[in-house]
Symmetry: C2
Subunit: 404 residues, 2 copies
């Protein structure tokens, strides 16, 4: 988490990733690789770039998922543009793409093409449904993946309609499998078990794998897992409760937590109430129990109740939103929101990598770049002289850095 890193302290130091992904699924995964020390070269379409550069609010949305990447602006429909990427890949370890089916082939950037220039490349394809699916050509929007994977079906009020999980879960689950699978392949290559590798990460399959615990309900009962709002089928008190001003969450999920909870409420009389004797009893009377609890919680504010409950080590806390969370004592102490300074531009606000190591480190190295910010620098590093760069720019093979 420290900014002071030595090359050896970054697990992926010296690893180069050529990144032909956009929006969230690919970029969040390659950001993880960058946080771990890889150099990520983000290849973007001339004049347009990653579609998420246009998602409101700009550039804040894009900035949160694109640190630690160098942006190069290349027209992959041109032979010269394809040649640039082949040269990047020749020196790289990993290539990641999330283009539409058939697109990398049309760019001459398929696995077989890139193996010709780099026989130890790890090539990762992110797609909606993989290469052997009835839905192969269907654009895999996150909301569609949430619907088709079952994620929406378990999200929502009891008796209400299925809802989004709020986070772009279909995308982010895919990101994590992308990072994980690339790391596994790098490890196998380092051990000498493989030369190069091709990896397919299908969004729908990735999302379905996360159903595991919920699908266990179906595998055991042959019933779909229900939507429960914030309730738990067999634990009470559990979920959202109103205090005088705001809601809080309480999860008094064991018998001893129930005893402690009644003590904090100064309602030890409830311990003698037959309706609430065992967890099973309590879960059979959730409505009357909630009514009794909320009558007590109405006497003070959410802040006060959270303090009292947490002081007794009862799992309870505020329901933060994406603004209030940054003032939380834990979040402030651990410095989770970071500002990355940029010369000549507004600073970027980002969320720090969450994992701590002892001798290894993660880093916030390069702030999110503007479209094509590193085009010239990268071309120069790969041997292009100024005249060549000028020619490529005039012919539209590389961008001018101006967003269209």
């Amino acid at each position: 988490m420290s900014e002071e890193t030595t090359p050896e302290s970054l697990p992926l130091s010296g690893v180069t990733v050529v990144d032909l992904t956009q929006v969230i699924a690919g970029p969040f995964g390659t950001m993880n690789l960058g946080d771990l020390g890889a150099e990520v070269i983000k290849v973007e379409a001339v004049g347009r770039g990653d579609r998420s550069r246009g998602i409101q609010p700009t550039p804040a949305y894009f900035d949160t998922i694109n640190r630690n990447k160098r942006s190069i602006e290349v027209d992959l429909k041109t032979e010269d543009g394809q040649q640039i990427v082949r040269e990047l890949v020749a020196d790289a370890d990993v290539f990641v793409e999330s283009t539409k089916p058939g697109r990398v082939e049309s760019f001459n950037l398929a696995y077989e093409d890139l193996r010709e220039v780099n026989d130890s490349i790890i090539y990762c394809s992110i797609s909606g449904f993989g290469s052997d699916s009835p839905y192969e050509n269907l654009p895999a929007w996150d909301t569609l993946v949430q619907a088709m994977s079952g994620i929406m079906s378990v999200t929502g009020e009891e008796g209400g309609q299925p809802l989004w999980s709020g986070l772009p879960s279909g995308d982010l689950i895919t990101s994590m499998y992308t990072t994980q699978s690339i790391l596994a392949a790098l490890y196998a290559r380092e051990r000498g078990d493989i030369d190069s590798e091709w990896i397919e990460v299908p969004m729908l399959d990735a999302a379905i794998s996360w159903l595991s615990a919920r699908a266990g309900h179906t595998f055991g009962t042959d019933e779909p897992f229900p939507r429960l709002g914030t309730r738990h089928p067999t634990i009470a008190p559990f979920g959202l409760f109103s205090c005088r001003d705001e809601n809080i969450v309480i999860a008094a999920g064991t018998q001893s937590l129930w005893t402690d909870f009644c003590a904090v409420l100064e309602r030890e009389d409830l311990l003698a109430d037959e309706r609430f004797e065992t967890m099973h009893d309590r879960s059979q009377h959730p409505e009357v129990l909630t009514e009794i609890i909320e009558a007590e919680l109405a006497s003070a504010s959410a802040d006060v109740w959270v303090d009292r409950l947490q002081a007794a080590d009862i799992p309870a806390g505020p329901i933060h939103d994406t603004k209030s969370i940054w003032a939380d004592e834990h979040v402030v102490r651990r410095n989770l929101k970071r500002t990355m300074e940029r010369e000549g531009r507004d600073d970027a606000e980002v969320i720090d990598h969450p994992v701590h190591f002892s001798s290894l480190q993660t880093h916030l190295g390069t702030p999110p770049e503007e479209l094509g910010e590193s085009t010239d620098g990268l071309l120069a590093r790969y041997g292009y002289d100024e005249a060549e760069i000028e020619r490529l720019r005039e012919q539209g093979v590389v961008g001018t850095g101006d967003d269209a």
Copy 2:
């Protein structure tokens, strides 16, 4: 994905993980390591085991997150029990734990303790809030992490209360960072950059990192990201729509998708309607647009409309639940639900690992075991003879395999 693996084809072949985690966050992460070829030795409390062995429906719930693990039943409050784990760790590569603060120290299984028996151990601690938090002693239930991280705040109906994301997201996000961080450390160790390593994965921080795209809204506007049900703030038509029988999801998120969508509806007249001319126009009139669309969708069933829309490559699909999904054509073709046979027990139903490799493989090796199923086998492998095992069992140091 194939069952026929050679040692070299599993990226983590030869890697041994000693696993002192339970419920979801740790076990889903170590299952990932097992899928990738690691041998995972699951250390469970005598007579009780992983708490999730008791979560209904049993054993289906537990089975979905505990394949590829060997169960050994050990009382860590005894010196002999601690010695057994030290011997396992002496030969292992990775140790993962998710016990309460102070617990591993009381078991003499802290990082410093285990480095004495294995100076190349990668030691991963999963906790709710990490070791430097005002909430350090608070039990980190998934629902609490969802509340405190902001995940609940973006989940729910417009104007309604915050809801769970349905999946145990706080746990599963933690799982993925656990797998990823261990892989990064294994890679660094293989390159010779580190000897041993200590890793801290805090659930709350992990969950907060997933806010990235949503927090971008706040960083750019200073406003919390709203709850939107299934609506999108700037895209229409988008979300859940009712057909004659059931709901489907449609995401016509570009101008050309809108044109194609109107063609499928046979309502090209809408293209000339001023209210719907641009994406911005359509997103300003979501209610009247939904009314018009649902009037058309009422003429046929969800199945029919999904076929028609998908045939035109429009992102649209069914809203599967945790039961209906297993009959989906894609899920069947890719064989995502698998049955693992067990001798003398009912088979286990599991969801396959979602990622495909070319030369590397993942596997479904060992089916989920009963509590302590491998106790004797593992003790024998580590040099305990029958008399010693008998003594340990009589003294309650290792279990009898009977669930209490």
